[in-house]
Symmetry: C2
Subunit: 325 residues, 2 copies
């Protein structure tokens, strides 16, 4: 059985999904859709690039469309629109807006008799699954999530908008003492600030005032003012040599008790060289699950909480029981 | 909604399940079945203890029966027999025999229109889920599982059968260097011996020959001869004071690549004060999922690969999306 997958949006995430789909024997990448001029795009695998407006013509060639746009602007319109034509999977990751997004996507999916799996990736995604299994088995306890060490795109962008900044990269770094507290069941009252440091690497424009830039960063409300923030000025060459990647990762720690003096701990962690390639790989596995669930007649919106894990894997259930259980 | 759960078998695991069910608002423990004289058993929660032969009379009061017997002798007969009356969940953990057990349980479940979830716990169980998600997202890679530091019941029993041994406890201990190799993607060729040490704590009988006991342990085929094994002789008092618990745990490490030079790592670990309480807690959460899936009309045998993780939790899907995704 081969599932026919298409990608909508060819940024870092779309490229990550493309790589993952190309490596899966049971997934066929049939097209990459874009709002840009298709002729301007060179894909890694030579997959046809098609204007998004032509999606309706391709609908019967596609089992699942992976919407690889951003949560801030793209997905809230793209996913409901695409559901007129295809089943979908996406990585919607604005946690506070997930309930409203789910309702909108569910309505569009049900109207069209399609299936949509939302918010896959690692947080939301694999981290959510770790939280779910951990709380299921240890209901009496606390879960603490740490992010990093990894690049925060939003914070890097915020620094780049400061006068005198030519380029910037911000790393979110978990605090070791806070992780230790979480492991000991003392993580409940830790704030995001307690848990994370922010490391900023900045390339200045010629004649920029370094001290003014540093001050603008560390006092920036919401982004940095509430954190222990370090600012390191580096050359454009060092930025290119040492900070070109998009590493990320993090930890989900649950400490609980099954009876009065019996402590139990579960820890899940990711250490990723490339956040978009990893997330794209999760998109590919999730597209497989959507294809199978849609083929079984399911419609509406789903999250990974609704997906039996075996559906993410190419192996059949007997093989999973024999070799992975 | 309250699900009515019963336990079959009141050993360490049955007691662990009892504690977990008692703590869940949506689970009601209606009875504990035993092959022993019910009058001889004092339960932790005051739940009625009933002779197993009376199970048929209780069937319509029970949504799910948790079979808490052992894999070696009990479950292969108990689960198919119980399925004549109830849906079931169990912790069958003899990995090599799972495919055959699954087929037998599936046949009994289908014959009776019942649902059976097998092999829950942590390995098989949560470790299997970690392997599944990790291989789904990183198909190009290797998974290495380490067990411990924790008590191996089978190895402890083997030592106790040696002449001159009054009591014994064996801990399986993961080797730090091997774990580091697995994290670096060099775990594929590690043997179980490379990965684990065996620490034995032994109380001698009066006038036993310590050197002969040590020799009998470290040369024992299958159990110890192929491992680096340490033997420490201790007093009965020290055994009672420091080795009375049943701690366990372990690590599932997957190292993979999403493209040529892009390494990605997922690590899952458990650190458990009480193996049977943790496993019993997973039995309770799994019983909830069985009750829901059976109510939806499912029949036959299942493993956790077939169970959507949200079904394990008491919260409804909207609450999970809002607070756990």
């Amino acid at each position: 059985m081969t599932y026919r997958i298409a990608i909508n949006g060819y940024g870092n995430l779309g490229r990550g999904a493309e790589l993952a789909i190309a490596q899966a024997d049971d997934l066929e990448l049939v097209a990459i859709f874009t709002r840009r001029d298709p002729a301007s795009i060179q894909t890694a695998t030579g997959t046809p690039v098609v204007a998004l407006e032509d999606l309706p013509k391709w609908a019967d060639k596609i089992d699942v469309l992976a919407n690889c746009g951003g949560s801030a602007t793209d997905l809230a319109t793209q996913t409901p629109e695409a559901l007129a034509h295809c089943n979908t999977v996406d990585t919607f990751d604005t946690h506070a807006k997930i309930p409203r997004y789910f309702e909108a996507v569910n309505a569009a999916a049900e109207t069209n008799g399609k299936l949509a799996l939302i918010s896959v990736g690692w947080d939301p995604g694999l981290f959510s699954m770790s939280r779910a299994y951990s709380e299921a088995v240890l209901p009496n306890g606390e879960t603490t999530t740490f992010w990093g060490r990894g690049v925060s795109q939003g914070h890097s962008d915020a620094i780049r908008r400061i006068d005198g900044v030519a380029d910037a990269k911000q790393y979110t770094v978990p605090v070791e003492e806070a992780m230790q507290a979480a492991r000991e069941g003392k993580g409940a009252n830790l704030t995001t600030r307690d848990k994370h440091l922010r490391e900023c690497f900045v390339v200045l424009k010629p004649e920029a005032d370094a001290e003014a830039v540093r001050e603008a960063i560390v006092t920036m409300p919401d982004y940095f003012a509430d954190y222990d923030t370090t600012v390191t000025f580096i050359s454009a060459e060092e930025m290119a040599a040492n900070h070109a990647g998009m590493p990320h990762g993090g930890f989900v720690i649950r400490s609980g008790r099954t009876s009065e003096n019996v402590a139990q701990r579960i820890e899940y962690s990711l250490d990723l060289d490339s956040n978009p390639e990893f997330t794209g790989s999760m998109v590919a596995a999730s597209a497989r699950a959507v294809a199978r669930m849609a083929a079984a007649g399911e419609t509406g919106a789903r999250t990974l909480f609704d997906v039996a894990p075996g559906l993410l894997l190419p192996q059949d259930p007997a093989e999973l029981r024999a070799h992975m259980l």
